[in-house]
Symmetry: C2
Subunit: 200 residues, 2 copies
Amino acid sequence: MEQITENSTKSRILDEALVMFAENGYKGTNLRDLAARLDLSKSALYKHYASKEAIWNALLDRMEAYYGERFGSAEHMPEMPKSCEELLGLTMKMIRFTVYDERIILTRKLLLTEQFHDARVCRLATKHFLGGTQRMFTAIFKEMMADGLLKEDNPEMLAFLFTAPVTSLIQLCTREPERQAEVMAQIEVFVKYFIDNYKK
Amino acid sequence: MEQITENSTKSRILDEALVMFAENGYKGTNLRDLAARLDLSKSALYKHYASKEAIWNALLDRMEAYYGERFGSAEHMPEMPKSCEELLGLTMKMIRFTVYDERIILTRKLLLTEQFHDARVCRLATKHFLGGTQRMFTAIFKEMMADGLLKEDNPEMLAFLFTAPVTSLIQLCTREPERQAEVMAQIEVFVKYFIDNYKK
DNA sequence: CAAAAAGGTGACCATTTGGTCACCTTTATT
DNA sequence: AATAAAGGTGACCAAATGGTCACCTTTTTG
């Protein structure tokens, strides 16, 4: 049966489609350019996907699967930090990854620009910008409170208080990448301030 | 000289353009539909604006002017709250306005969907989602600290801690309007929690 | 009032764009 | 080796779209 292996034409199409959809939006992307970038003729695309929409849907399928395995299951939790210093390190590492990884940057752009035009993107956007990370940090904070590392408080609220500002600044980074360094510094200041404020 | 008065055709075009650009993006908006919605022929549009881009730019001009008079000058500051209860009331009133006003909803959508395609939108987005409100609340918090209503702290950091989560939830409201009621409740919980935490 | 400016219309044009088709080449499959 | 399936190509099509033009009507203005 058909399998979308790494580096198959099918997946190369999705890779490039992600770039173009993220940069120019769904309507702003045309199949001629997409084909050209892959050194293919336009009609060759149709041997792999039935339509532009089919490419779009396949791309969302892949993104959804990625989020499923990353945020959906309990297995994919990071190791629990054993101190506030470790929490700081872990957090900054995750943020750096999210901010610098080209694929995730493109995903974020796509989610932002198409969130009002597609119901699945809408759902994914909420997961990406709010639900996913918040759930993760709720678990972390809950355990750290139980271990006496953080002050007792509502872990869910705390996770939101922590997650939302970081998300805002990451979005700023995505919007104005030339300010990346400056904003990353801001993020670190915030994270330190936050942990300092809630550590026992 | 030409003046864009309220309800002139020129401004009606911009009104409808805002709706369509916000809903379908720049590329997703076509002049035939725009004209039809205004009960005009397409060629009539060209008597008022030289091109699609000219309409777009005029719309951004108007948005920019709006932000200029609303967040740019010191005059447009709300009256300073004289108690934490007043702060709560004032804040919730502002948030409700922002969340429910159709024009602002459309503006927010436009900023989100076009932030990566246009430098001016990029600038405006940062002002809207971060800079503008943060500056305002920095001023408010600073004064309230001086008046002994809030704990001493870095007012700018506090404004950010306050502003960013609210902005996140407002974006959620914009993305999933069917959850508006639920999210507004969340916002109120957050605002109360925040004020409670920092009041003296 | 006459002239001109402003506002409006429908027909038309060129370009872009998603999609199809007949045909070719390479790679399995029996 | 014969056949079929998969992958690829260029020419072509129809629809959509930004923009132009000649022409008409209403409103301003000297």
